[in-house]
């Protein structure tokens, strides 16, 4: 079964195609902005999900205070697109990055983060080149074991390092609590706050993160802003986390069934170079097919998605175009140069994924 819209997409663009429903996009933007407003938090969406300055501008126009970027290259694209308040939530290192950071600082309002003294020691070079003071927040790890210092004592030390460094200004703390770890995050933050206040410092930015954490919004006393990313599109992981329904998933991969080599098997024209091998934290298969939810996208070749149809009552025919909700939409968007925009059953046009592949 192929929907009329899927037929149009296949005819006009071919498959596989990444398709976003702008009605859902706008609804997701509005809903999360309202959640942040209710919680008394500024919204600073992470653009890693859509990588589009036009969508970032929609988020800003809906009320977001600024945006978050992971890589400097993403921030440069966003600045080109008119976004002027950017948190780069990443340790930036090396003279090549410092020169680019300086150039960016001259154009827009930039805050960066650091979780170690080496990064802090390098940042004054950018500030000096820019002839601006650079705001630096301390990244804190409260259980995820990603970037971030592991103890309040280290956070306090780094805050003092920042405050004492030439041309740097201590901005505050950035954290990304685990979904069940907000008490731990509160204890960490309270201890760090006490320590920096003893040193005469006051955080002006206390940032929490994550779309799955929208259900915890406002739980951290002292937080000033939240950095949700995935909510603009949503995906199977967000549905599994309980912060979105399938109806909130705004991006689908439209893919043609190109082979049915055996009764229990089928093959999609979307493989690991489209859907990626991201397991989505242990989901069943590599995406959900709307038309055949019992079908499992079991494994990949680079351009082939292997369907296990053994559980499927209805099975697709060769030539059917199906819609897939990705496991992890942020990495899937990063595979495509453009997305097709639709509203309901109408094609609106295409949107470049302008910061795609900006990995440095």
């Amino acid at each position: 079964m192929t929907t009329p819209l899927a037929q149009k997409i296949a005819r006009e663009y071919g498959t596989p195609a990444a398709v976003i429903d702008m009605d859902r996009v706008e609804r997701n933007i509005a809903r999360v902005q309202a959640q942040c407003n209710s919680a008394g938090l500024a919204n600073r969406p992470h653009i890693k999900t859509h990588k589009s300055p036009l969508l970032a501008a929609l988020q800003r126009d809906a009320g977001a205070k600024g945006i978050t970027c992971q890589k400097l290259g993403e921030a440069e694209v966003m600045a080109d697109g008119g976004l002027d308040d950017i948190l780069i939530s990443y340790n930036l290192l090396g003279e090549e990055k410092m020169a680019r950071l300086a150039a960016l600082m001259r154009r827009v309002n930039v805050t960066v983060v650091a979780d170690n003294p080496t990064v802090i020691a390098g940042l004054p070079r950018a500030a000096a080149q820019a002839e601006r003071t650079l705001s630096v927040a301390v990244e804190c790890d409260t259980g995820r074991k990603r970037a971030g210092v592991e103890t309040p004592a280290e956070a306090i030390t780094l805050a003092k390092d920042i405050a004492g460094a030439k041309d740097l200004s201590f901005a505050g703390f950035m954290m990304y609590p685990t979904e069940s770890g907000w008490d731990e995050a509160q204890a960490f933050y309270d201890a760090a706050l006490k320590g920096v206040r003893e040193a005469g410092l006051e955080p002006r930015l206390v940032s929490t993160g994550g779309s799955p954490n929208l259900k915890n919004l406002g739980k951290l006393k002292g937080a000033t802003e939240h950095r949700p990313g995935t909510y603009i599109y949503n995906d199977r992981m967000q549905v599994a986390a309980g912060v979105a329904t399938l109806d909130d998933c705004a991006l689908h991969i439209y893919s043609t069934v190109v082979s049915r080599a055996a009764a229990d098997r089928g093959i999609l024209d979307a493989g690991s170079k489209t859907l990626t091998s991201d397991p989505g934290g242990g989901l069943d298969g590599f995406g959900l097919i709307i038309e055949h939810p019992e079908a499992k996208i079991a494994r990949f070749a680079e351009e082939h998605g292997m369907l296990d149809l053994s559980r499927s009552n209805t099975r697709p025919n060769v030539g059917d175009v199906v819609r897939i909700v990705p496991n992890h939409v942020c990495v899937v968007v990063n595979m495509v140069d453009e997305v097709v925009m639709v509203r309901g059953d109408e094609i609106v046009g295409t949107l470049p994924v302008a910061a795609r592949g900006k990995l440095r």
Copy 2:
């Protein structure tokens, strides 16, 4: 420890960067061409690995008969770059693809494959539009459970369908035997050959595939050509398969250590948006760090590679630039818009990954 070349790469381009050593690239091209020559097989390299018409031209100039592409969009880029003998090893379906296939047929010599009657039924449309006869091979599955008919009887039926279709010409058989399944492939091919000969047909193309299968080159009696792809760069999977050494790995991801949040942990600036979540068929971790082979790239965030250093005697410092051999180089190349070319310790320049993201 950062090598002088890594320092130069970081300073001139920043990290993470995909870097290819052209001496190794040329050596890999020459070695496999010689292997094909010795086996009496034409070489038809698969460009999915490098996605560059310039590198495809090097392969052609070294003696390759033509090239293999997986997607029509890749073939279009290769035709733009002057490659004129292209096998598209993929079921092509739908009017959008047929129009593009017709346009391509008018420019270069194209062969396609099919593993089902629906695909065969659609192809005459392209041939008619192009006013050319289209060569179509039957894709056969001999154990991998990917695309391809599962039995010689089906292969024979499809061969007859092709021969009987307007403007189509039966080209032969394409297969991708498993590394241990060449007896099975031979039995399949012999039965299929017998059947098509009984129908008065003769294959002119009998194509085997895969860099891991270079160790099986020439084992299929009747084969006319081989389609190796990964050999131009090689990766951990090829080393594990025994067809390459680490010295044959021509592409490295240069990545900076951006955090050492705890004694046993480190973080690279290359995450799943650079190295991809491809497990490489069950390898230990997501890449091999040349400078710290005991370190494990244990898991990813999108822009962070999480290092488990618990086994490491020597541990990197924040700011170190390390070289990583990817698990599966073909999917990693597809993440970057360009690669940096070096020869030994000298930077030569950059090369666009021109067919990156050409997923349709």
